[in-house]
C-alpha cells in the first residue's frame, strides 16, 4: 500500500517542539515536490505549556483542504493528545512515547485511548534522545525521524531542512538534531509495519526547489511586499498579528515603515493618511478591529482615498472566539459603516490567493480610489500550503498621480468623468492643492449638501467600482467541475471553498451532477459570472462558517434568486462530509424529482 495522500498530525505542548517538528516535515515534503497543506494550532494561553497541534497533509495530487481524519497521529504529550486520538482514521497509526519517566495512573497514557481499529506504534523517544544527544530536548526530532522512517521517506531531504532550520545557530545544533532525527529514523524504519505504508514518490518532474511552505498570512505579507508596500500600520489582534510581525522585520529592510499604532482606529486612520499622501499603505486586523475601523472606511470611500485592509476573521461577535475560525464578518466588510459606502472586498480561497489578492489590492485601491478589504479567516491565515512564488513580481507598480501639466484653475479632485474616476494629486505636487473631506462635497472637494449633488456623487462612487469586477489579472469568481447544466451547484467563499471542492468532486464521483463556484470579489459582486451559474444549477447550496448565511443573503439578495444555506459555527472548518451529505440530500431529495 503506497501513500499518495497522507495526513500527519503532531500534538504536544508548547515546550515540546511540536510546531517545529511539523514545520520540518512540511518544508521537507514541499521541497521534494509533494503538495502540502498544513495547519498549526497554537495554545490559546499566552505562554507556558499549552496545547499545540500541527497537521500536515502530504499528497501527490493537489488537495484543497485538510482531511477530517488524520492517517498518522504523533503524541509528544499524552495529556494534550488524548482528546484528539479519535481524529485518527480506522487503521490509521497512533505513535507515542512508550517509556514515560515515572509511573502514571490508569488512563494517563495515550495507549489507553486508542480505538480498537487504530494502530498503536510505541517507541521511547525520550530515551533515544537522551542516549544520542545527552538530553531529552531533541525528542521531537527523534519522533519526527520515527515518522519519516516508518514511511520510508528519504533521510537526506530531512537533513537539508534541519540544516536550513538551524542555519543561524551553531553547527553543533544542526548536528545534534540530525543525530536525534537519524536515531528516530532507524527505530521507525525497523519497526514492524502492519500496513506496509511507504510514501509514493513525488510525481515525476515535480520540482520542489522553488516551492515554499506559506501560511495565508505569510503569503499575504509576501503579496504586500511584492506589490512594494511603503507603509504598514497595525494593532495586534489574533489571527492577524503575524502579518504585522513579519512586516516589522521585512518592511524596513527595503526602506518601508511599520508602525504599531495605539488602536485599530489609528491604524486605519494612518493608513488612509499615508494613502492620501501617495504611499502604498495597508493595515491588518480581525473582526473587532474592523468594527472600530468602519467609520474610517466610510471616510476612505467618500474622500476616495486608496487603502488596503487585511481582515482575518475569527469567531464573533465581540471578543468571541479569538482562536477559532469563522466567516462571520462578511457583512461588516461589505456593508460596515454609516451611509452607502461600497468598497472593494476580496476573499481569497487559498494561500496562493492570499498572495494574489493582497498584491493586487493596491492596484485596485489606486485605480478605483477606494478602500480595499482582503477578507480571510483564521483557518486560511494559519494554514500552510505549497506555493511557488512567481519569479517576476506580478503586480502593477504604484500609479503615482500627477497633477502637473493640467489646465489652470482650481483642482477638481472629484471631477465627474465617464468612468467615475477623477484625477488625483498628492501633497507635494504643485498645481494639485485641494482639500478632501468626509462631508459630502462638490467636484472641488468643498462641502456641499445639495440634493442633486449628493445623488450624483453617490452614483459616481458606486458606479466607478463596477469595472473592478472585470479588472484584468484578477479572478473575481470561478466555476469548477462540470460545465453546463447541473443538478446541484455549490457556491462558496474564503477558506471553506477547499472543503467545498473536495465535497463537490466526491459527489461527482458518486454520480451526482454538480459543480462549484467560488466568489472571490464579494463587493462589488461579479453578477455577470454568478448569474449564469445560477442559470445552470437546478439548486444552489451555499456552505459558509457563520450562523446567519451572510454570503447566501448577499447573493440571493443581489440576484433575487433562492439558495439553500448550510451554516456552521463550530469554530472549526466545515467538514467535507457535512457538505457532501447536504449535496446528496439535495440531489436525491424531492426537489430533484421535480426538476424538469
Amino acid at each position: 500500500m503506497t501513500g499518495t495522500d497522507v495526513q500527519f498530525a503532531i500534538c504536544g505542548s508548547a515546550g515540546d517542539g511540536t510546531i517545529a517538528a511539523g514545520d520540518i516535515l512540511k518544508r521537507t515534503m514541499a521541497a521534494m515536490g509533494y503538495k502540502v497543506i498544513a495547519f498549526d494550532i497554537y495554545p490559546a494561553e499566552i505562554r507556558g505549556f499549552g496545547k499545540c497541534i500541527s497537521r500536515v497533509r502530504v499528497s501527490i495530487e493537489q488537495a484543497y483542504s485538510l482531511k477530517r481524519r488524520s492517517d498518522v497521529f504523533l503524541s509528544l504529550n499524552d495529556a494534550h493528545a488524548i482528546p484528539h486520538v479519535g481524529e485518527v482514521r480506522d487503521f490509521g497509526a497512533v505513535v507515542y512515547d512508550d517509556a514515560p519517566i515515572a509511573t502514571i495512573p490508569e488512563g494517563a497514557h495515550i495507549s489507553a485511548h486508542i480505538r480498537p481499529a487504530q494502530l498503536p506504534y510505541g517507541a521511547s523517544f525520550r530515551q533515544i534522545s537522551d542516549k544520542v544527544t545527552g538530553n531529552a530536548r531533541a525528542r521531537n526530532l527523534v519522533a519526527l525521524g520515527y515518522l519519516a522512517g516508518l514511511y520510508g521517506m528519504p533521510r537526506d531531504a530531512f537533513h537539508k531542512t534541519i540544516g536550513r532550520k538551524f542555519a543561524t545557530k551553531a553547527a553543533s545544533v544542526t548536528q545534534v538534531n540530525v543525530r536525534a532525527f537519524d536515531a528516530g529514523y532507524d527505530a521507525g524504519a525497523s519497526v514492524f509495519k502492519l500496513d506496509d505504508v511507504v510514501m509514493a514518490p513525488p510525481p515525476v518532474g515535480a520540482d520542489g526547489s522553488r516551492a515554499q511552505m506559506m501560511t495565508g498570512n505569510g503569503a499575504t505579507v509576501r503579496g504586500l511586499l511584492d506589490a512594494d508596500i511603503d507603509c504598514f500600520f497595525g494593532y495586534p489582534i489574533t489571527p492577524a498579528t503575524s502579518i504585522m510581525e513579519r512586516l516589522a522585520t521585512d518592511l524596513p529592510k527595503r526602506g518601508g515603515r511599520m508602525l504599531q499604532t495605539e488602536d485599530e482606529i489609528s491604524a486605519i486612520a494612518a493608513t488612509i493618511g499615508a494613502g492620501y499622501a501617495g504611499a502604498r499603505a495597508a493595515t491588518a486586523t480581525s473582526g473587532p478591529g474592523l468594527a472600530l475601523m468602519t467609520e474610517m472606511m466610510g471616510l476612505g470611500v467618500i474622500a476616495e482615498v486608496p487603502s488596503v485592509t487585511i481582515v482575518s476573521q475569527r469567531g464573533g461577535p465581540s471578543t468571541g472566539l479569538p482562536t477559532k475560525t469563522e466567516q462571520s464578518d462578511l457583512n461588516l466588510a461589505v456593508y460596515g459603516g454609516s451611509g452607502d459606502a461600497q468598497r472593494i472586498v476580496l476573499a481569497p480561497t487559498n494561500v496562493e490567493g492570499c498572495y494574489r489578492c493582497a498584491g493586487i489590492a493596491f492596484e485596485l485601491a489606486e485605480k478605483f480610489q477606494t478602500p480595499v478589504i482582503v477578507l480571510i479567516d483564521l483557518y486560511l491565515s494559519n494554514r500552510y500550503e505549497t506555493v511557488i512564488p512567481p519569479e517576476v513580481k506580478p503586480f502593477a507598480p504604484k500609479a503615482i498621480p500627477d497633477a502637473a501639466g493640467r489646465s489652470s484653475g482650481p483642482f477638481k479632485r472629484f471631477a465627474f468623468t465617464d468612468d467615475g474616476l477623477s484625477p488625483r494629486a498628492i501633497p507635494g505636487q504643485n498645481g494639485g492643492v485641494h482639500t478632501i473631506t468626509g462631508l459630502e462635497h462638490n467636484e472641488l472637494g468643498r462641502p456641499a449638501d445639495q440634493a442633486d449633488n449628493h445623488q450624483r456623487m453617490s452614483r459616481k462612487r458606486h458606479d466607478k467600482l463596477l469595472a473592478a469586477t472585470r479588472h484584468p489579472g484578477l479572478t473575481v469568481a470561478k466555476r469548477f467541475g462540470r460545465t453546463g447544466k447541473v443538478d446541484v451547484g455549490i457556491l462558496g467563499w474564503g477558506s471553506t471553498f477547499g472543503e467545498i471542492l473536495e465535497a463537490m468532486y466526491a459527489a461527482e464521483r458518486e454520480g451526482i451532477s454538480c459543480s462549484a463556484m467560488k466568489v472571490v470579489m464579494l463587493s462589488p459582486l461579479p453578477v455577470h459570472l454568478i448569474e449564469p451559474f445560477f442559470d445552470d444549477c437546478r439548486i444552489v447550496l451555499v456552505p459558509e462558517l457563520n450562523h446567519e448565511g451572510q454570503l447566501a443573503h448577499l447573493v440571493s439578495g443581489t440576484l433575487g434568486r433562492p439558495v439553500v444555506r448550510l451554516d456552521r459555527v463550530t469554530g472549526a472548518p466545515m467538514e467535507v462530509d457535512t457538505i457532501l451529505a447536504e449535496i446528496r440530500r439535495l440531489a436525491l431529495g424531492p426537489a430533484a424529482g421535480n426538476a424538469a
Partner: protein, 340 residues
C-alpha cells in the same frame, strides 16, 4: 450484577477474547479491560499459516471486527505489556509505567515458543512463528520454492508444514522428542506418523540432534548436527512446544510450576486471580497432577468458564479430554488439534 467492578483480562488470544465476551454478557455494568502485547486485535493464531496462501493483509486474519470492543464497551489495550502484578494491592503495571487497578484478574497470556538450551544462542538465526509479524518475516525470508527446516516439529509446526508443501515450498523436518507435541504418543506410533509425513513430501531427518545454526550465502542457513553433518535451507524454524509466558507473575503471590497453577474452577492461589488457556496448569483429581491442555478449543472453553466463575458460577473444567492423532483414509496425518 456487580456495578463498577473492574475485570482485567491479560491476553487477547482465544482464551482472553472468549472470557471478555462472556464477562460482558454476564455483567453488563462492569468495567472490562482486555490487554495484549500485540498491536492487533484478536486473531486466531492457528490461522497464521494462511499467510502463505495469500492472506497477507492482517485485517483478513482478524477473528472479529475490531469495533466489536467498542460495541461491548470493552477497553482494549494493545501494544501494552504487563510487567508486574501486585496481587495484594490488586494492580498491574505496564512496561510503559501506567498502573491499572483491578477487582478480578484473569491471566490468559498463553505460551511462547520453547527452545532447547543448546539452541538459545542461535535464536537470532531462527524464525519464530507465533504472531502475524513472525509470519510476515518468514514469508519475506522464504523465496518461492524455498526450503524451510523445521526443528522439533510440534503440531503447530506440522500444521505450517502442510501449508508450505501445498504452496510449493520444500520442508525438512528434524524430528525429535517434541515432534507431534502436544500429543503424547509411543515410539511405534511416532514412526508410523513420520512415515506418513514423508509420503506427504516432508524430508524427515531422524536421530540427529541439531547443535548449531549458521548464516550462509545461499541458501541463507545451515543447521549443524552433533556429528558435524549439516543441512541447508532458507529458513530455520523451531517448534518445540510452548512455554507459558508468566515472567510478569513472579511478584503476584500466585503458585506456579511451569504455568500458573489453578484448581478445576481455574482459580489460582490468589483470591482475585484466575488463569485460562495455554498459560495455566489445571489440577486433575483423577491424575493427581497439574496438567496443560493446549489447543484453541480447550483454550476458548477455559476462557469462557473462567469468566463464568469470576461472575458467580462454580463450574469445573473437564481435564480428562485429550486429542487423538492418527492417519486418515488418504494416508495423511490427522489430529484433533488441527480440526477447526
Amino acid at each position: 450484577m456487580s456495578a463498577g467492578l473492574h475485570y482485567v483480562v491479560i491476553g487477547a488470544g482465544s482464551a482472553g477474547h472468549g472470557a471478555v465476551t462472556t464477562l460482558r454478557a454476564r455483567d453488563p455494568a462492569a468495567r472490562i479491560t482486555l490487554v495484549t502485547m500485540s498491536r492487533l486485535p484478536f486473531y486466531n493464531r492457528f490461522d497464521l499459516p494462511r499467510y502463505f496462501r495469500g492472506t497477507t493483509d492482517w485485517r483478513n486474519l482478524l477473528a472479529v471486527a475490531p469495533q466489536i470492543y467498542d460495541e461491548l464497551a470493552i477497553t482494549l489495550r494493545r501494544n501494552s505489556r504487563v510487567d508486574e502484578i501486585d496481587g495484594r494491592a490488586r494492580t498491574l503495571t505496564f512496561s510503559h509505567k501506567e498502573v491499572v487497578g483491578y477487582d478480578k484478574l484473569l491471566v490468559c497470556t498463553g505460551g511462547g515458543g520453547h527452545l532447547p538450551e543448546v539452541l538459545v544462542e542461535y535464536k537470532s538465526l531462527m524464525h519464530g512463528f507465533a504472531t502475524f509479524e513472525d509470519a510476515t518475516r518468514v514469508a519475506r525470508a522464504l523465496p518461492a520454492k524455498g526450503r524451510v527446516i523445521l526443528l522439533g516439529g510440534d503440531m503447530i509446526g506440522l500444521d505450517l508444514a502442510r501449508t508450505l508443501i501445498d504452496t510449493g515450498h520444500r520442508v525438512t523436518l528434524v524430528a525429535g522428542e517434541f515432534t507431534f507435541w502436544p500429543h503424547r504418543i509411543d515410539a511405534a506410533k511416532r514412526a508410523e506418523l513420520l512415515a506418513a509425513l514423508s509420503r506427504a513430501g516432508v524430508d524427515v531427518v531422524t536421530g540427529r540432534t541439531p547443535v548449531a545454526i549458521e548464516a550462509a550465502a545461499k541458501p541463507a542457513r545451515r543447521v549443524i548436527f552433533e556429528d558435524d553433518s549439516a543441512i541447508a535451507g532458507d529458513v530455520v524454524m523451531p517448534f518445540f512446544g510452548s512455554m507459558p509466558l508468566v515472567d510478569f507473575m513472579l511478584g503476584a503471590g500466585v503458585d506456579m510450576e511451569r504455568g500458573i497453577l489453578v484448581d478445576p474452577r481455574l482459580k489460582s492461589s490468589n483470591e482475585s486471580i484466575w488463569a485460562a488457556g495455554d498459560v495455566c496448569q489445571i489440577w486433575s483429581d483423577e491424575l493427581k497432577e497439574y496438567r496443560f491442555l493446549h489447543g484453541w478449543k480447550n483454550v476458548r472453553l477455559m476462557g469462557e468458564l473462567a469468566a463464568r466463575n469470576m461472575t458467580g458460577a462454580a463450574e469445573e473444567f473437564d481435564v480428562t479430554a485429550d486429542f487423538a492423532i492418527g492417519i486418515d483414509a488418504s494416508g495423511h496425518v490427522q489430529s484433533d488439534f488441527w480440526e477447526q
